[in-house]
């Protein structure tokens, strides 16, 4: 089966900094993959290159069979993205924002789609409120509604639960799981949150200094590193103890 997303020998150099240094991976359709890494590991740049926001220095990216960024307009209506670091127009109400983005993505039966998303994401009481007047948790739900407005085949998420309380974060994860199951969508999730990655992802790619340091299922990573949690595995990789430990075992 053709991968939903494939990245081959991807490099991004900003002036003298190699933000991404020759990474390759492929995401199977319908899978959830976590992209783990510390600050400056290259996660956000990788996602931005997949979306066409940043041009790679070299290497190739394919999304749903389209070469990115050259053929991006063939597939962008089937892709979406959510990040707490991007906002939506504050003065527009939730309904107005979803209406605008729904039209941009040419969503069929838009009023019904907005109504169903609002019910699913508990936004019915917020539809007429300006986005700028919402709490952080409410804004995340609206951003999620925007990211799901086109029922994307590929959904990219950059720390989707950052700055949320544990209850709201858990609620968001449940919605993402439900969406993936129902839609059969492919999800790529960049995160610092090990609990989130452990719960949601069936595969974890660990990045450090622009390179892929490891790539496996959470279960196999725990066994290989002889650890109880992904956080311990992450610390091993971040502090360069991963290979030593594996070699010892």
């Amino acid at each position: 089966m053709r991968p939903a997303v494939s990245v081959d020998q991807l490099i991004k150099v900003y002036k003298s900094t190699r933000a991404v240094d020759g990474i390759s991976f492929a995401l199977e359709p319908g899978s959830i993959t976590g992209l783990l890494g510390g600050n400056g590991a290259g996660k956000t740049t990788t996602i931005a290159m997949i979306l066409g926001l940043v041009l790679p220095t070299s290497g190739t990216i394919e999304v749903l069979g389209a070469e990115m960024p050259r053929q991006r307009y063939r597939v962008l209506h089937k892709v979406n993205f959510e990040s707490p670091y991007m906002d939506m127009p504050h003065r527009l109400t939730v309904q107005q924002n979803l209406n605008v983005f729904g039209r941009l993505y040419a969503v069929n039966h838009l009023p019904e789609r907005i109504a169903s998303l609002a019910a699913e994401l508990d936004l019915l009481d917020l539809l007429d409120r300006p986005v700028g007047k919402l709490s952080a948790g409410q804004k995340t739900r609206v951003a999620l509604a925007k990211a799901l407005i086109n029922a994307p085949e590929v959904l990219l998420l950059d720390e989707p639960t950052a700055s949320l309380d544990p209850d709201t974060a858990d609620w968001v994860r449940t919605r993402l799981e439900q969406f993936r199951k129902r839609r059969g969508a492919t999800l790529l999730l960049a995160s610092h949150n090990m609990v989130e990655v452990e719960r949601l992802c069936e595969r974890v790619i660990i990045m450090k200094s622009g390179r892929i340091e490891d790539d496996d299922t959470p279960g196999r990573l725990l066994v290989r590193y002889g650890r109880d949690t992904l956080e311990q595995v992450f610390l091993d990789v971040a502090r360069g103890r991963g290979h030593t430990r594996e070699a010892a075992q």
Binding site: Y14, L55, Y73, L76, R91, V100, R103, L104, Y105, P130
Partner: protein, 271 residues
Amino acid sequence: MPQTRALALASQRIGAMVLRYVYLLRSSWSRLLELIYWPAMQLFVWGFLQFYVSQNSGFFARASGVFIAAVLMWDVLFRGQLGFSVSFLEEMWSRNLSNLLISPLRPIEFVCALMIMSLIRLAIGMVPVTLLAIAFFGFNLYGLGIALAAFFANLILTSWAVGMFVAGVLLRNGMGAESLAWTLMFLIMPLTCVYYPVNVLPDWLQVIAWILPPTYVFEGMRALIMEQVFRADLMAEALVLNAVYFAAAVLAFFALLDSARRAGSLLQTGE
């Protein structure tokens, strides 16, 4: 058929962006008021000045309306560009630009939406002010007839070209370049001879003035009001220059967008 569908989808996306800006204007009285406030202030200052000097000078009595026409035309040029640039800036202020650039909205459709918004904002600001000009100073801009269409078309094309260039620089350099949106047009103002004829400039500055399309419009406007002559030749020359500037602005916008994608500037559109 696929082309018809692509065109329909492009129109839908442009419509979505126009709707987004209309929602914004509807939600903010201050934004709406601001569209009328400055053109009205300009009109009153220059209108009363013209009223005063025309009582004391035969020349200005003969040139009745020339200052008011100039200030209104200048506002078409300046507010047309601001209408384009401010709508673009709204996306940067609200950190929404990345959302748009990862959506199916194409840059050219975005530019079309900004041009439409420039016209809408201009209409909201300028139509009431032209009516005030009739009420307070007896100057009817619409009395210029078909010439007004030629003046307007040339001025709005220049304003869009400047707006597009500014948007490209903002994409590449972020909000640090915001002041360009408010000041760039004032850099060319003295050279476009809004309130005085080109021949008052030193010879070497006249050469520069004649490579700016608005200079032809303001000269044409004075010829029409003071000598009752419509200079179609000036309008044609301005149109040719505008075609060159507009094409250059489109190329610059796309080159700067490409450069922003290379530099990763679109990930950080703040200062």
